[in-house]
């Protein structure tokens, strides 16, 4: 059992007949994902790689049990597609669209919160449990990046994910579940909201978060560490430490304004709460090894707070 998705999760693809949708449907299946139906308005009756296509989510639900929806839908139509999936009773939704209007993103997240659903994205590569299942697009065939293992990863950045994950693998680890929450200012799901799942996941020993300047998601993770609702070792890498204030560097969600959301503040909050913070991608592997060894030691001697011991 991995978190969010596994081989058993029955996935619907919205926008399945598009170029990207069709291409990644094939790859998601190849990696082990169970895809049961697709939706493209006007294309009912067609098949994509043996997957039946329906006009609407509702029509797909008449013939299939659906656990999750994967959206390959342009940003301006994403709100409509997410609402449609939610109305179809789907509780796990991944949208990779880059460029969702922020007012739409706010309404998407609000609707998800009210429905008790998780919407991951936009502006993300999606979710992957290497060797089991994938919703989104990851170069899972590059083994030096996507080896199965016991490290959970959460990220705000696609390009940095491959970079940091390759360092996790180089250090001798692998990935249990990677969740790309995305680089938008209002992501559907926030880092801290996924921590309970990682905390309970018997297949995850430690979590790496890949953050960046702007917003408060890293501070929320620090709060979860500080109040002991998350107690596994946590290593963070944050891009934009030397970014000049006010310049629009990085994702739209990453603008430093008026001293809030600076990487400096985030590093201080995380370290104070007991996380290890890497200054360079390569250090992520080293810090993981240290943190896990400390955990083992403190468990061996029966000492109480394993996480805080690991941070030193």
């Amino acid at each position: 059992m991995s978190i969010f998705i596994d081989e058993q999760t029955r996935v619907l693809i919205q926008g399945i007949t598009g170029k990207e949708g069709a291409y990644w449907t094939k790859h998601m299946q190849e990696m082990g994902t169970t895809i049961v139906a697709g939706v493209t308005p006007g294309k009912e009756g067609q098949q994509v790689d043996g997957i039946p296509v329906y006009h609407s989510v509702e029509r797909a639900t008449r013939n299939h049990q659906l656990d999750a929806a994967m959206l390959f839908v342009p940003p301006r139509f994403t709100k409509d597609a997410v609402f449609e999936a939610l109305e179809g009773g789907i509780k796990k939704i991944v949208t990779v669209a880059d460029g969702i209007p922020v007012h739409d993103a706010v309404q998407i997240r609000k609707a998800a919160l009210e429905a008790g659903a998780l919407v991951v994205g936009g502006n993300t590569s999606g979710v992957i449990s290497p060797g089991k299942a994938m919703m989104g697009f990851f170069p899972y065939w590059i083994k030096r990046v996507y080896t199965p293992g016991r490290i959970g990863v959460m990220t705000r950045s696609g390009s940095l994910t491959n970079e940091v994950t390759s360092m996790v693998v180089e250090a001798g680890f692998g990935v249990s579940t990677l969740i790309g929450v995305g680089g938008d200012p209002v992501p559907g799901t926030r880092f801290a909201e996924m921590l309970p799942a990682y905390q309970q996941d018997p297949e995850t020993d430690a979590v790496v978060i890949i953050g960046e300047l702007g917003g408060t998601m890293e501070e929320e993770v620090a709060a979860a560490l500080a109040n002991d609702s998350f107690t596994k070792p946590l290593v963070a890498f944050l891009g934009g430490r030397t970014a000049p204030a006010g310049k629009k560097m990085g994702h739209a969600g990453a603008i430093v304004t008026g001293g809030t959301g600076s990487v400096e503040d985030k590093v201080a909050a995380l370290e104070k709460a007991g996380a290890s913070v890497a200054a360079r991608p390569r250090q992520v592997g080293q810090l993981l090894r240290q943190a896990l060894e400390e955990t083992k030691k403190s468990k061996g001697t029966g000492e109480g707070d394993e996480r805080k011991g690991a941070a030193k």
Partner: protein, 384 residues
């Protein structure tokens, strides 16, 4: 996209928010007519996007026409490159307030921020006197309701006619906030005037009137927001403007190393690593995502800089490594760059990318930090 003050005030006016009478001018002769129209005393305000214009001497008050024209002359010749001035009737101020609407990414709602102490930056106020700031969340799908606007206004300590005016202004702000897909809409300061000052206004009690205006429109909503568009004045350099018109994220710095990287997160990290290694960045450029087939244009932009080396770092999935490598090799052939190029191109089809780069006589590097060190060494005059 941020709007200039004069544009934000156009929006305010159309949303029923009182603004001082003003004229936009582009030169000294237009200024004379503008001063005649709004009367004196008047404020002469440089239309730049930077904050702190008052402190920087970019906004000045003139007592009479001669002084106003002298100030206009002075502001037009400032090094900041002032292109437009807003000449505005002076307001007799009793008090400065603050009103804004933005988004709350955690609760996924709209957020009204109100404060009876305006005129300073809200971030400063939030640090120094957090208890003075009123916050009211509202559901974006339902929209801001009048009772929510009243709750904010009475909590900020207003009463009587001023409170009624503030509710109307807040509802106007909300209308503009949704109409323009705003990330932020702000009136700071919102003036409360002394009685009887504003022409044609009610003159028994003080009147609320927008002293300054900020409106930031979501770039992702550009397809449904066509009234205002990006101009050269939104950028601090020609290069940044040119790149933006091409849809390539680009920032100008004055260091030695041109970055040509894929993805916002990775490019920002490479920027950090260069600084850690004691190097300096000439420009930040992203050619990933939708631009991954545009190595030629990206390199052209880098070559317009007096940088000493171009550093290419990518780790793409859909942005295939082989396609990017081919693009880079083709760009080198065509542009014949006069400076070394360090490549670290990885991701989908990376084995093919290595062959392509080696075939073109380049020495591909596979590790980001090693690539950064190599570029810094070259920039400092060492060999590749």
């Amino acid at each position: 996209m941020k709007l200039f003050e004069y544009q934000a005030k156009e929006v305010f006016k159309n949303s029923g928010i009182p603004v001082p009478d003003s004229r936009l001018v582009h030169n000294r002769s237009e200024a004379a007519a503008a001063v005649d129209a709004v009367g004196t005393p008047c404020a002469v305000k440089s239309q730049l996007l930077m904050g702190g214009r008052g402190k920087a001497g970019l906004i000045k008050l003139a007592k009479n026409k001669d002084q106003a024209l002298q100030i206009a002359e002075e502001l037009f010749s400032r090094p900041e490159g002032v292109q437009k001035l807003l000449i505005e009737e002076a307001v007799d101020i009793e008090k400065e307030l603050y009103l804004s609407i933005t988004l709350d990414p955690v609760k996924a709602e709209g957020l009204v921020i109100a404060c009876a102490e305006g005129g300073v930056e809200i971030e400063t106020l939030a640090k120094e006197r957090p208890e003075a700031i009123v916050r009211k969340n509202f559901d974006l799908t339902r929209g801001l309701q009048a009772y929510q606007a009243r709750a904010a206004v009475y909590d900020m300590g207003l009463s009587g006619d001023a409170a009624k005016q503030a509710v109307k202004i807040l509802m106007g702000l909300y209308k503009a906030f949704t109409t323009y897909d705003a990330e932020l809409i702000e009136i700071n300061p919102l003036f409360l005037t002394k009685s009887g000052i504003i022409k044609d206004g009610p003159n028994k009690e003080g009147q609320l009137i927008a002293g300054d205006g900020k409106l930031s429109i979501d770039d992702n909503a550009a397809h449904r927001q066509q009234e205002y568009s990006i101009t050269r004045e939104h950028f601090s350099s020609d290069m940044e403007y040119e790149a933006a018109m091409d849809g390539i994220p680009y920032l100008q710095f004055d260091g030695d190393i041109s970055l040509m990287c894929a993805g916002a997160g990775l490019t920002t990290t490479v920027y950090d690593l260069i600084n850690y290694e004691g190097g300096s960045v000439a420009n930040y450029l992203e050619f990933g995502g939708p631009n991954y087939r545009r190595a030629m244009r990206a390199m052209e932009l880098c070559l317009q800089n007096p940088s000493k080396v171009i550093l290419i770092v990518t780790f793409g999935t859909i942005a295939r490594a082989d396609v990017m490598a081919e693009g880079v090799v083709e760009a080198i052939k065509k542009l014949n760059p006069n400076r070394p190029i360090v490549t670290c191109i990885r991701g989908t089809n990376e084995e093919d990318a290595v062959k392509i780069l080696e075939g073109a006589g380049l020495t591909p590097i596979f590790d980001t930090e090693e690539a950064v060190r190599t570029a810094v060494k070259i920039a400092k005059g060492g060999a590749a």
